[in-house]
Symmetry: C2
Subunit: 474 residues, 2 copies
C-alpha cells in the first residue's frame, strides 16, 4: 500500500519538476505518509536507547581517543542491527588533544582554589606551573588595546560578563571570539597565560571548555576557562584593589591520532544514488559524556532514518553520518570529520548529494524550519509546514543556514542545506561542561526531534525536489 | 523617643509577668518598634556586605584551617566596627580533616572518569588506590542485610535514589543515615571502600560531601559520594549485567587543630546579663565558599543585631556567635563550636540565656515561625505574628525545634529555642557542594531573613517574657 502512495506522489512531483518551476507540489498522499512517519516517530524508542548506550558504555569520546574508536565500532554495529546498509567506518588523521591534570588557585593574601578547565588545544604549563599577577580586562577589545609587551610576566584575564541565554544560541558567538583569539592576543602583549570567564550561561562551578585557535601551527599560551562563580570571585577580588596572584598548572598536550566517521545508508529504491545526508558528531569533549553534544544528534538522525525505513523505502537514499571529529578538529582543514568525508567523494558523488542537514544543538525541541532561500515559499515549503507545524515547528524565512562544522564542508561545496532549529535557551548551561550527561535529555523533546526529522526527510527523500535548482543565482 | 517606647512596653510586660501567666501582652508601642526595626532591615546592606567579603576574602573555611582562623579574626574586627561589644574569639581543639587529592574512574571494558567527593573524616586510600568490583545496593537496609564478609575485596555502593526536595528539607535525613552508617556497615561486610549517591537534590556533576561517622574513634573505610549523574551512570552500567570495576584514590586525612568561636554582644541596658543568643557557623566545607552554608547565617544574625542596635538599646543583651566548627566537628562532644561555647558557661551564665535561635539553612526566605510549645499561642505569639506575617512568615504549631548542631548543646542544657524556618526546597542542590557560592544568594530574600530576625528578636529582647516558664512540665 505504501509503495503505491509513494509512487503516485513521485509521479506528481516528477511531472512538476519537468516544468523547471521553483514551486513544487507534494500530493496529499505523500504528505499523509510523512504525517504517518512523523506520528510513529513521536513514539520512537531508538533515539533514547542509542544515546543511553553510547554515553553509558563509552563516557567521554574525545576525537581520536580509544573511547571514540570503540564507540565508532559499536555504533556501526548498532546501525547494522537497525537495518542500515553499506555501514562502514572512514578513518582519517587528526591532531588530538588530552587534558591531563590541571589546577588553579589564588595565592597570597586570599588563598583559595579556583575551578578551571584548559581550553582545547591549549598547551600545558611548564612543569612547575605558572604563578603571576592577574590583569583583568572587561572585553577582548580592551585586551587588544593593551600595549604590546605590557603584560610581561602577567596572566591576562578576560571577564566580558556572563553569556546571554537566547533561544537561538546567538549569545555564544561573542564569547567564542574571546576563546579563539584570546591566547594569541595575550601572547602578543607578553602574558604568560590566558584565562577567561567560561563561554557558557550556567551559574555552576562548571567551566566550559572548547577549542582555541592555532597561530602558526600552535596555540601560543596555556589558556583556561573559569567557571562563572569563580570568575565572579576573581573579578570581585581584583576589584578590592590589591594585587591578585594566581597559580595555574596543566599537563595538557596534543598528539597524532586517527578519528573515524561512521556512515550508513537506508537505500532508496528509485534513485538510490541520490543522497540526503543527516549529520551529527560522535566525538565529545572530555569533561562530560557528550549526551547533548552530540550523542543526541546521532540518536535523532539514526532514529529518524529508522522511522522512515519502517514506513517503507523512499525514492532517494537517506544517509546517516556520525562524524568522528568536530570538537577538537585540528588542523581545521583536514582534522575535521566533515572535511574527511568531503575529500572521500568524487565530483559525481558530491553532485548526487541533494540535501544535507545537521543535528548538533542538543536535545531540546525543534521550533523552526529553515529551508534554502529559494524554497522558503511554494509547494514544498507548504507541505513541510503542514507536516511540521502540528508538532510545534514553524517555517521561517530567516537567512539560509550554513550548517555546522560537520556538514559545513559539503555545504560550502554546493550541497543545499536545511535547518531544524532547536531551543537553545539553556543549551549553553551544559554544552562543553562536565554536566553534559544523559539525565539532561528530556525523552519527550528528543522524540519530537525524531518526528520533525523523519517527517521532513520523508518529504524530501520520496520526491525529486531539487533544492539546488531553487537557489537564487549568485 | 525610642527609649520611652521601650520602657513603656517593658513596664507593661513586667506587670503581666508578675501574674505568672503564660499569656503575655506586648503593648502596641513595642510592636510598633519591632515593625520599625523589621522595615528598616528590609533595606539592610550589612548582610550582603558581610557574606560577600567573607566568601570572597577567605573562600572555603574548613574548621581549624588557616582560612577559618583568618576569617575568625576578620569577622571579629567586622563586628567591632559595627558596634558589637565584648567581641572575642574562643579557641577550642578539634580533629580537622583535609581532603587532599581524590579521583575515581570506571576501569575495564567501559573506562571513564567519575566525579566523586570523599566524605568528611573519611580516611584516604592506600597509596596505590583501591581497584575492585562494585556491588550495588538500593538501600542501607539491603547493605545491612548482606552477610558479614560477603563484600570481601569489593566496593560497596549504595544508590538509594535521588534526594526528595522538600520545603522543610526533610528529604535530607534518610540520606544522612546512609552517609553516617554506610562505611561502618560496609566494613563489617568486608568491603574495601564505600560509595554512595550524593545526599543532595541537584542534577549536576556536583558531589555532596558531609561527615560520616566515627566507630571506635576512626572511620573504618574510605567513603565517597558520587554526583547524581555519575550515580545514574554507574547504576546503569551495573544494570547491563557485566561486572563493573572502579578505581578510587584519595589522600584525605585528619589532623589535630584549633577552631574558633567569634562572639560579640549588643548589650542590653536594663538586664544586660540576660542573653538572647543568635547562632550560625563560620566554618564551611572545603568544596564551595560556604556562602549559603553558612556565611548567610552569620550575615543574617549580625545584620539583625545591628538593625536592632540602630533602633536603640534593648532591655536584654543580643549576642551573636559565629561558631567555628559545625561541619567536621569531631569528636562530636568536644570538637563542636556549640559544645565549646556551652563548656565556657558557668551555671549562672547558662541560666541567663533566655532564648536561642540558629540560622543555618541558607539564604532562602523565612516562611514559618516556630515558638516553644507553651508559647505557640497567647499574647507573645500574637505579637510575633503581627510583626512577621506581613513579610511572609506564618506562625506554626509544629513540634518545637531542637536547634541545629550549633545551638543544640545549649538547647539540650535547657535554653528555650525558636525557629525561623527557611525555604529549603532547593537548598540541598547547593549545600556541601562546590556550588555553594555567593551568586546563589538572592539579596532580597537575604534581607527578608534579616527583617524576620530583627523584628522577632526586638520583641524578645525588649521584654521580660520567660520562655522557660512557658514550657510544658516534663
Amino acid at each position: 500500500m505504501f509503495v503505491s502512495v509513494r509512487r503516485s506522489a513521485l509521479a506528481a512531483v516528477s511531472l512538476l519538476s519537468l516544468c523547471a518551476a521553483p514551486a513544487l507540489a507534494q500530493d496529499a498522499a505523500t504528505i499523509r505518509a510523512a504525517e504517518q512517519v512523523r506520528d510513529a516517530a513521536l513514539n520512537d524508542t531508538v533515539a533514547m536507547d542509542y544515546v543511553t548506550q553510547l554515553t553509558t558504555r563509552f563516557g567521554p569520546r574525545p576525537a581520536g581517543s580509544a573511547s571514540e574508536t570503540a564507540a565508532a565500532q559499536w555504533a556501526a554495529g548498532y546501525m547494522r542491527e537497525l537495518g542500515f546498509k553499506n555501514v562502514h567506518i572512514q578513518a582519517f588523521p587528526l591532531v588530538g588533544w588530552e587534558r591531563g591534570e590541571e589546577s588553579a588557585s589564588i595565592v597570597g593574601a586570599n588563598p583559595q582554589p579556583l575551578v578551571v578547565a584548559a581550553l582545547g588545544h591549549s598547551p600545558g604549563t611548564p612543569a612547575g606551573g605558572i604563578e603571576a599577577e592577574v590583569v583583568r580586562f572587561a572585553s577582548l577589545e580592551d585586551l587588544q588595546a593593551a600595549p604590546d609587551g605590557s603584560l610581561a610576566g602577567k596572566i591576562a584575564y578576560v571577564d566580558a560578563g556572563q553569556m546571554v541565554p537566547m533561544q537561538s544560541g546567538a549569545g555564544y558567538g561573542p564569547l567564542t571570539r574571546i576563546r579563539g583569539a584570546g591566547p594569541a592576543v595575550a601572547a602578543q602583549k607578553g602574558a604568560l597565560a590566558f584565562i577567561m570567564r567560561s563561554a557558557g550561561s550556567d551559574e555552576h562551578r562548571m567551566p566550559h571548555t572548547g577549542t582555541t585557535r592555532y597561530v602558526d601551527g600552535v596555540v601560543p599560551l596555556p589558556g583556561f576557562a573559569l567557571s562563572a562563580p569563580d570568575a565572579d570571585q576573581l573579578s570581585r577580588l581584583v576589584s578590592y584593589g590589591e594585587p591578585v596572584r594566581v597559580r595555574l598548572s596543566s599537563t595538557a598536550h596534543t598528539y597524532e591520532t586517527t578519528s573515524h566517521n561512521v556512515i550508513g545508508d537506508m537505500p532508496g529504491d528509485e534513485r538510490p544514488e541520490e543522497i540526503i545526508v543527516l549529520g551529527s558528531h560522535m566525538d565529545s569533549w572530555d569533561l562530560g559524556t557528550g549526551a547533548i553534544d552530540d550523542g543526541a544528534g546521532g540518536a535523532i538522525t539514526i532514529a529518524a532514518a529508522k522511522a522512515i525505513a519502517e514506513q517503507g523505502r523512499t525514492a532517494r537514499t537517506v544517509r546517516v553520518i556520525l562524524y568522528g571529529s568536530e570538537e577538537v578538529a585540528q588542523p581545521t582543514d583536514t582534522g575535521n570529520g566533515g572535511g574527511a568525508y568531503l575529500r572521500s567523494l568524487s565530483p559525481e558523488d558530491l553532485a548526487n548529494h541533494v540535501f544535507a542537514g545537521e543535528s548538533d544543538f542538543g536535545a531540546g525541541r525543534v521550533y523552526a524550519l529553515q529551508l534554502p532561500v529559494g524554497a522558503q515559499t511554494g509547494a514544498f515549503a507548504d507541505a513541510a509546514n503542514r507536516v511540521l507545524y502540528p508538532i510545534g515547528v514553524l517555517r521561517t524565512n530567516t537567512p539560509e543556514t550554513s550548517g555546522g562544522a560537520d556538514i559545513g564542508p559539503i555545504v560550502r561545496a554546493g550541497v543545499p542545506v536545511f535547518g531544524l532549529q532547536q531551543d537553545g535557551l539553556r543549551y549553553f548551561d551544559l554544552h562543553h561542561t562536565a554536566d553534559d550527561t544523559l539525565d539532561k535529555i528530556d525523552p519527550v523533546q528528543l522524540r519530537q526531534n525524531v518526528a520533525a526529522w523523519a517527517g521532513l526527510i520523508w518529504l524530501v527523500a520520496d520526491s525529486d525536489v531539487d533544492f539546488r535548482a531553487m537557489r537564487p543565482a549568485e
